[in-house]
Amino acid sequence: MPEMCNINKNLLLDLYFHETSGKEEQKIRKHVEQCSECREYLMTLEQTDQSLHQWQDQSPLPHTLDIILEKIPDPQPKPVKAKPALAAAPFIKIAFSILAVLLVLVFLHNQVTRFSFWETLQEWWFVKLFGSLGVTAVLFFLLGTFITLALSPVLILESKSRKYKYYFS
């Protein structure tokens, strides 16, 4: 009565299908040389493999590809979008943006000049150099920069969290 072998049979599968590393393979081979049970199992694998290969490969019907191609619609050319009649649309957008900024500046200028401290500022060289509208513009852009910088940490964190959400999804 042969002794029961305790080797994991999965290792024999790895050996038979050459899915082991070199060192591992040597170890298993050594064991198999001494173990009749494992040799018998490997023999079974080989015999079954041989039996299965009695069923040889067959070909599909010759016109199969034609049937597949018939099922597939012809790729439609992408409809070309008609260009807007007004080709200068981007320039109009830019012009409107500039106009909007100017209007805001004029509005701000009107508001600022109503304050009492404005009179004292008139003597300042900067105001003399750029004029009251220029000073308002500088104030406007400084305010814009300040708001952007104040919001930037929040915006950066938000964009990063979105990126990781996409990555892990």
């Binding site: 599968l13 899915e19 009695q54 069923w55 490969d57 067959q58 599909p60 590809l65 049937i67 191609l69």
Partner: protein
């Protein structure tokens, strides 16, 4: 087109290039067809499923991601899912002997009456035995055997295709081998007895 890799062809397929599909079909028709044939055991169904597999390949090309796995595995996944769906239909559940096999068996009987080469006859009988033995296996056992013994995929690749752990697949393989051994042995005994 012939020199392009599978992944390059898939990129072309995403852009709806029919030549890419033709080339991929040429490369994999035999592998996929025989996989389906052995899984279903029926030539007619395998024929329909190979059409569905490549049609789906065309429509789902944009979902292929080369970073996730190779093209071959992805193609087998499509074929396997289609075959599983087809075989889960009630009408196939209890039918082991396929019409093709019946036809083959009749052919063998006819051949036996007319003198012919014994080897060819034996070959045919063996083929039927293998077909029947595979048909008797449970589908999840059959698919491991087919992918391993006929298509020579590694267990790691089969794990990707079937979305099953390697250890489970190996356990299934052991079980499938012991059942196949039993079925093939009983069929050999029957064939031998009939020949005597």
């Amino acid at each position: 087109m012939q020199k392009k890799t599978d992944n390059q062809l898939m990129k072309l397929l995403t852009a709806k290039d029919k030549m890419a599909l033709k080339e991929l079909y040429r490369r994999y028709e035999m592998q996929v067809f025989n996989f389906l044939l052995r899984y279903t055991g029926r030539r007619g169904i395998a024929q329909e499923l190979i059409q569905d597999t490549f049609t789906r390949l065309w429509f789902a090309a944009n979902t292929f991601d080369a970073k996730r796995g190779n093209f071959k595995g992805w193609l087998y996944t499509i074929a396997l899912n289609l075959a599983r769906n087809e075989m889960s239909k009630k009408e196939y559940t209890y039918q082991f002997l396929a019409p093709d096999e019946v036809h083959n068996r009749r052919q063998v009987e006819n051949d036996r009456q007319t003198p012919g080469p014994d080897d060819a006859l034996e070959q045919k009988e063996m083929q039927i035995s293998v077909n029947n033995a595979l048909a008797k296996l449970q589908p999840h056992l059959r698919e491991v055997i087919i992918m391993k013994n006929y298509r020579h995929l590694k267990f790691r690749e089969i794990a990707e295709v079937t979305d099953t752990p390697e250890s489970t697949l190996k356990a299934r393989y052991h079980k499938a081998i012991s059942e196949l051994k039993k079925h093939l042995h009983s069929m050999e005994v029957t064939t031998h007895a009939r020949n005597v």
